[in-house]
Symmetry: C2
């Protein structure tokens, strides 16, 4: 099949009257069909950043002008450093300056930061206006399309100010990933890989068989990876929308990963890179706890490495890792709790003492 004519797939996220569709396919941005059936309004506002805007904003404007009398573009500075209230105000300022009303539709055109901020702006502007996600990174397509989490950072903590707010629709145009640096493709694949070991061994087997296709950005492979990731996340989140229990398994690899990110300084390793390496550590910890086979750990390590992700942690003393993890988890004087694998396909929460974790780190980090 020609990739240009790859048919899209729709994933329905069932949330009662807040249900919506994630459309996954190629060439969606320029397809008028993509933008049919959205809420009517006098105006639409595209929120994007200085990296993505110049590439794609005008093409989205061209499409939306068929549906909205006025289409405005707000271009924010790029990067996590700008995921704050000051930058969010730029969206509110534009909405009020352009006399947007409570029907105005917001479009988030960018990666996770743009999606989180635009969603939060939509949740708050006039107490809630509709919004559409158009994620332009693989990470955003698989991670933030589902779950309804929106937020900005506070100087004292990431994602501390936000809300749960669902989009009208998510449009995952796989063709937009062509402009992504390879490192960011790999970082997105870390979150894709995650869904196999925590929930679905047949998806894990599919990943084993298609990792090179994904790395090469084969559109059909990407479509399956994004569709299946969204389906699994929707199933997990659907059982736990307000994040009290099961949803925690989505943080597989993240406790170790956050320690790497914090220790290196945020942004030195990409989030997905740290999660990739963190999944190796979490798999090794599962083995140390006696609930995962060594051969399964090696299978995980090989898959993560094939994605182009690091599988060896920075050469720090175990105490440094433990200190960062203890902050992250606000552990109460005792063992830190981790998401670990009780065999491939099933994630559980387990506490691990510092001695065990230190041994795992000795096996998974570069020599001191």
């Amino acid at each position: 099949m020609s990739q240009a004519s790859l048919p899209f797939e729709d994933v329905r996220i069932e949330l009662g009257e807040r249900s919506y569709t994630v459309r996954v396919g190629a060439q969606l941005l320029d397809d008028p069909q993509t933008w049919q059936g959205l809420p009517r309004a006098k105006s639409a506002v595209i929120v994007t950043n200085t990296t993505v805007g110049p590439l794609y904003a005008q093409r989205l404007v061209d499409q939306l002008q068929a549906h909205y009398a006025a289409v405005h573009v707000v271009t924010l500075p790029d990067g996590e450093a700008h995921k704050d209230w000051q930058t969010l105000q730029l969206i509110f300022d534009a909405l009020l300056r352009e006399e947007c009303d409570r029907k105005t539709v917001l479009f988030a055109l960018g990666g996770g930061v743009i999606g989180d901020m635009t969603g939060f702006a939509a949740a708050c502007y006039m107490r809630g206006v509709p919004f559409v996600q158009v994620p332009t990174t693989l990470l955003a397509q698989v991670d933030s399309s589902v779950g309804g989490k929106t937020a900005v950072n506070h100087p004292l903590g990431k994602n501390m100010i936000g809300s749960f707010y669902q989009p009208e629709r998510v449009v995952c145009d796989l063709s937009l990933l062509a402009s992504l640096p390879q490192r960011e493709v790999a970082a997105g694949l870390a979150e894709v890989i995650k869904y196999g070991p925590i929930f679905d061994t047949s998806f894990l087997s599919w990943l084993d068989a298609h990792m090179e296709d994904l790395v090469a950005r084969d559109l059909a492979a990407l479509r399956h990876a994004v569709v299946r990731s969204c389906q699994i996340k929707a199933e997990v989140v659907g059982q736990d929308e307000r994040e009290s229990g099961l949803r925690a398994i989505l943080n597989f690899g993240h406790t170790f990963g956050h320690a790497i990110e914090a220790g290196m300084g945020y942004g030195v390793w990409l989030h997905g890179e740290a999660v990739g390496c963190g999944m190796v550590m979490a798999a090794e910890l599962s083995r140390a706890l006696g609930i995962l086979e060594a051969s399964d750990v090696n299978r995980m390590r090989a898959l993560i490495q094939r994605a182009g992700l690091p599988v060896v942690g920075p050469a720090w003393p175990a105490q440094d890792y433990l200190r960062h993890m203890r902050v992250d988890k606000k552990a109460e004087n005792g063992a830190i709790r981790f998401v670990v694998l009780e065999g491939l396909g099933k994630a559980v929460m387990r506490a691990a003492d510092d001695e065990t974790v230190s041994q795992v780190l000795a096996r998974t980090c570069a020599p001191l």
Copy 2:
């Protein structure tokens, strides 16, 4: 009956799993029973202002210490001028500084500004923590106890940034109204009076019979006024939670009132004073449209005057009023729409041309 032993009344606001109770009574603040059964947490944060805090915050702290290991107080500057994001940040800063988690309960101790800001902070902190309203003005007790509206102002518009977010409980302690300036009691009574003509003639008759008791802050009279106002508002809002139709009748008197507030400069007339006078104008407009008897207009005017509210508008040319109303309503080149009375007890939306409105203003404003 001794007023000190006045039994409380509970109004149940039915909103599915977001249902809650408004408790209305005397001496509630110091009654341990008032604070039973709230969500458990390690910490509670009381948000108040520099006027109310010194009067009541310590008494609330004393009660809450029986339930929460840590009880913090955040004192904001008083006044609508501070209902902005900068002041809201003071709440977030305190929540993060005190390491509050997603179970921490916020208590709004103050008038409408404190309630709106605390509710919005609760809606956004870690994507939503529980909060309790303890309104200390009559206006806040009857107006913001029901409806779930939270917000802050933006330099380009009032209440532009906010959310719909329901409290766990509302505690209307009528004894707290003893410290209120008489002008603010009258301003609160404007919103109480409103519920009669728009929805309930028997409540209007009760108001006719008890206005002097209310002005004198008789606790039993206040209890009935607050209970009935909350019940009526809950009934109206329950039929229209997201504010698309019926809820608009709650703005009876507000279109004229906003023109007075804007023309005088916000804060010169209290909101309730402007609404009181605006209700006289809206009643006169109803008569001019032929849907209300002159005797009913006079009955309304007398009642509003007995509350201690102004019933004669500022001496401006009609054009000034119309200009302010047109901004407020974003009227599209034509007649402005008003909430008017189709007989006492029933409010409807009607357009009125400038000529008719000008004649009404000539009858209800001081001579030029």
